[in-house]
Subunit: 389 residues, 2 copies
DNA sequence: TCTAGCACTCGAACACTCCGAGTGCTAATT
DNA sequence: AATTAGCACTCGGAGTGTTCGAGTGCTAGA
C-alpha cells in the first residue's frame, strides 16, 4: 500500500489496463475478468500477465473485487485516475452546435426559459439527471425598478437588472395608497436605487427613499419593505432539474431503496444548489485541471464561432460527494459565465459507472453554448449572434 | 357469472366480508385468507363459511386469487364496489382546517403559490402523488392590460383578470417603437379589450385596436400579436405535481420497470391534465354519486365555516384509467370552484391498494379549503376570510 | 519478464424437499 | 337450509445440495 499510490507511478501498461477495465465496466456493469479483457481489447499479453497487473492495481487501490473469485471493478480511486488521466473526450459535431443554439433561443421570451431548456437538453443528451442553477445576480446592478398599481391593495414590481434580465413580483400595499401616490413612491425608489448593485441594497439604503416624498411615512414604509423583498427575491438562485426519472432506467437503480434515498436528497433542491456553489468556490484548483486537458478545436471556415478553450469542469466521484444517498453517483459540474460578473452552475448526476468522456464533452459543450447564447442575448444589439427576428 | 353481478345483489354478510378483505389487503398488501380474516375482524362465522362466501364473491368477480392455494385480493370490480358502497369517510378535525387555510395563504403573493401549496399539502398528507391544475380562465374577463417598456425592443405585458389574478409576460417589440408610442398602443389595446372574456379575444378582435392609433400599422401589428400571445398564454393550464418520489416507497413500485413506465407517463403533464379535464366533463353522473354519500358535518359553535355538502369526487380504478402505465394505480379527482365561473382540478394518484376513505376525505377537504380560501382571496374585501394583513 | 498450467473459490442457476397457509369439497351438526 | 368440522390437496417460499463456469493466485518453465 505504501510503495506506490499515485497514478503517475503507473507504467503505460497499467494505464492501458485500467482504462480498459473502466471502459468495459462502464459498458457492461459487470466485474471484468482477465480473460475477457484480453479478448475484448485484444491486448498483446496473456490473461495471466493481466492478472498479475490487476492484482497490483488492486493493491494500489484502483480496483476492487466484490468477492474472491469475481472479476475486478474500478474503485472510486480508479475512476478518479481514469477521469484525471486516461480520459478521451469525444468531439461534438458542429451541426449539433447550430442545433443547440437554436433550441436554446427559439421562441424565447424569458431568461429562465433558456436555463430550463439547457437542463432539458442536457438530460436528453446524457440520459442522466441534469441540474442547472440560475445565475447569482447579487453582483449585478439594478437598471430599472417600476411599481405599477393593479388595484387598491395590490401592485406589481418590475425589476430590470443590468444584463437585461427582468423579474417581477406581486406585492401588497396599504389600500389607502392610490395610483398617484404609488407612482410618486415608485419614482422615489427608482431615484434611490437605480444603478446600485443588488448586494448593496439593504433596508437602510432603501429607506432613504422615504425622505424623498411627502407622503405619510407609515404608508411609504410598507411599500419600501415590499419592494425590498421583491429585490432580494431576485437574488435567490433557482434550480432547474431535469431527467430525474431517467436514472431509474439504469441498473444501479434496480434497488428501489437506494433510488428512494437518492430522490429524498434531490428533492432538497436548495441543498443541492448550495453544494454546487460551494464546489465551485473550493475547487478552483480542480478547475485548473480542466484546463490541463485543454484541447484546440480547429474551426473549419464558415462554422459558428468556436473557442480554443474548453470550459473548466469538476468531477466528484462516489464518496467524494458530500450529499446523502450519493455514494454510488458521480457529479460533474461546470460554471457558465455571462460577461464577467454573472455566473451559474451546470451539473450532471449519474451513476459512478458513467460515460465520463461523453458527459464531460456534453457538459462543456452546453456550457459554451449557453454562455455564448446568453451573452449574445443579454448584450442586445451585439452582433456575435443572430437570434430569431 | 350471469346470475348476479351487481353490488346490490350482495347480502350484508358478503358486503362485510368484501369490506374486510379490501381493508386488510390495503393494509398488508398480501392476499388475505379465510382464517386470518376471521381472526383479525372477529367475524361470527367459521373460516369455512367465509371460504364459501369468498368463493362466491370470486365468482361474482369481486375477488381474485393470484394462484390456487393463495388468499384472495380485490379485483378492480371489487375496489369499485368498495368505493361506491362500502366506504367510510373519516372526518378531518377542525384544527386541521385552520392549519390548512393558514398554510395555503401564509405569505402568499401570487395565485399560483396557493395551487403549489395545495399540491404540496395533499402529497404530504396522503403520501401519494398529487396533481393540481390551475384554473381555466377562458371564461373570465380581462380587467386590465398594461404594456410597459423595458428597453428598446423589449416590453412587459401585465394582465389582470376579473378575479384579480395577475399574469405577465415579456415580449419583443420593434426597436423603433419608443416609450411614448408604446403607451399609446397600450392604451388602444386597453380600450379595445378591457372587460372582454378571454375566450372572445381573437386576432381579429385585437387587431381592431390598430385602427385606434396613428402609428404605422406594421409596427403596431407586431405589438398586437405579441399581446395576443400573452393573453392566450394565460389560458394555458398549469400543472402542479408533487410527491412523485413518494410512490417509490410503496411496495407496488418494487418493480422498477413498472415505476419507470409510470413516470414516463407522468412526465407528459399536459396529457395527464387533459385526461383530468376530460374526466370532469364526461363524468357528471359520477359526480352525483359523490353527493349521494352526502354527510352532514355538525359544526361546533365557534369553529370555522363548515359546509353541508361534500364536494363531488371521482374515482378511477386500475384499468379504468385511460393512461399508459396506470393499470395498477387509482386516480381520485375532484373539481374546485372559485365563484361560478372559475374551476380547476385536484387529483391524487396512488396504487389501487389505496386508503380510499382517507384519501377521499383529504381531497374533499382540500378542495373545500382551496375553494374557500381562493374565493376569499379573490373577492378582496370579502369578509368571509381574514388573510394576513 | 512473461506465460502456461493448475488448483482453488465462489456465486448463479437449478433441482429437490419441506412447510404452512391457503383452498375446495363432503359429511356431520345445528 | 345454513353452518361448521374435517380432510385431502395445492402451491409458493424458504432452505439445502449440486453443478457449472468464470474468475482467481501461484508456481514452474520458456
Amino acid at each position: 500500500m505504501l510503495e506506490q499510490e499515485r497514478t503517475s507511478d503507473m507504467d503505460d501498461r497499467k494505464k492501458t489496463i485500467l482504462k480498459a477495465i473502466v471502459d468495459d465496466y462502464v459498458k457492461t456493469c459487470e466485474p471484468v475478468g482477465s480473460k475477457s479483457l484480453v479478448e475484448r481489447y485484444n491486448l498483446n499479453y496473456s490473461s495471466a500477465t493481466i492478472r498479475n497487473e490487476m492484482a497490483e492495481l488492486e493493491e494500489m487501490g484502483f480496483l476492487v473485487k466484490p468477492h474472491t473469485s469475481a472479476g475486478r471493478m474500478p474503485s472510486d480511486k480508479g475512476y478518479r485516475a481514469y477521469v484525471d488521466n486516461l480520459l478521451s473526450l469525444p468531439e461534438i459535431p458542429p451541426e449539433e452546435e447550430i442545433a443547440v443554439r437554436q433550441f436554446l433561443t427559439e421562441n424565447l421570451r424569458e431568461a429562465r426559459e433558456m436555463i430550463e431548456r439547457t437542463a432539458e437538453y442536457l438530460a436528453e443528451k446524457t440520459n442522466y439527471l441534469s441540474v442547472v442553477l440560475s445565475p447569482q445576480y447579487s453582483d449585478t446592478s439594478l437598471e430599472q425598478i417600476k411599481i405599477m398599481m393593479i388595484e387598491p391593495g395590490r401592485a406589481i414590481v418590475v425589476l430590470v437588472l443590468s444584463p437585461g434580465v427582468v423579474h417581477d413580483r406581486l406585492i401588497r400595499i396599504p389600500s389607502l395608497i392610490d395610483e398617484k401616490d404609488l407612482n410618486e413612491i415608485g419614482q422615489a425608489i427608482e431615484r434611490c436605487l437605480t444603478g446600485k448593485r443588488l448586494n448593496d441594497i439593504t433596508l437602510v439604503t432603501i429607506s432613504s427613499a422615504a425622505e424623498d416624498t411627502e407622503l405619510p411615512e407609515a404608508l411609504v414604509n410598507q411599500v419600501l419593505y415590499e419592494a425590498y423583498v421583491a429585490i432580494k427575491q431576485t437574488e435567490r438562485i433557482e434550480v432547474y432539474i431535469d431527467g430525474k426519472y431517467r436514472l431509474l432506467k439504469h441498473p444501479e437503480f434496480r434497488d428501489v431503496d437506494r433510488a428512494s434515498r437518492f430522490y429524498d436528497t434531490m428533492r432538497q433542491e436548495q441543498m443541492v444548489a448550495g453544494y454546487m456553489r460551494e464546489l465551485e468556490q473550493e475547487e478552483e484548483i480542480d478547475a485548473m485541471k480542466g484546463l490541463d486537458t485543454l484541447e484546440i478545436i480547429e474551426s473549419a471556415p464558415g462554422t459558428l464561432a468556436t473557442r480554443k478553450d474548453r470550459p473548466a469542469y469538476m468531477v466528484r466521484i462516489g464518496q467524494e460527494i458530500a450529499l446523502n444517498g450519493m455514494e454510488d453517483m458521480s457529479f460533474i459540474t461546470t460554471t457558465y459565465r455571462i460577461g464577467r460578473r454573472i455566473s451559474g452552475q451546470i451539473g450532471v448526476i449519474g451513476p459512478k459507472r458513467m460515460e465520463y468522456g461523453n458527459i464531460i464533452s456534453q457538459i462543456s459543450f452546453v456550457n459554451r453554448a449557453l454562455s455564448d447564447v446568453a451573452e449574445g442575448h443579454y448584450t442586445r444589439g451585439g452582433d456575435r449572434l443572430t437570434l430569431e427576428d
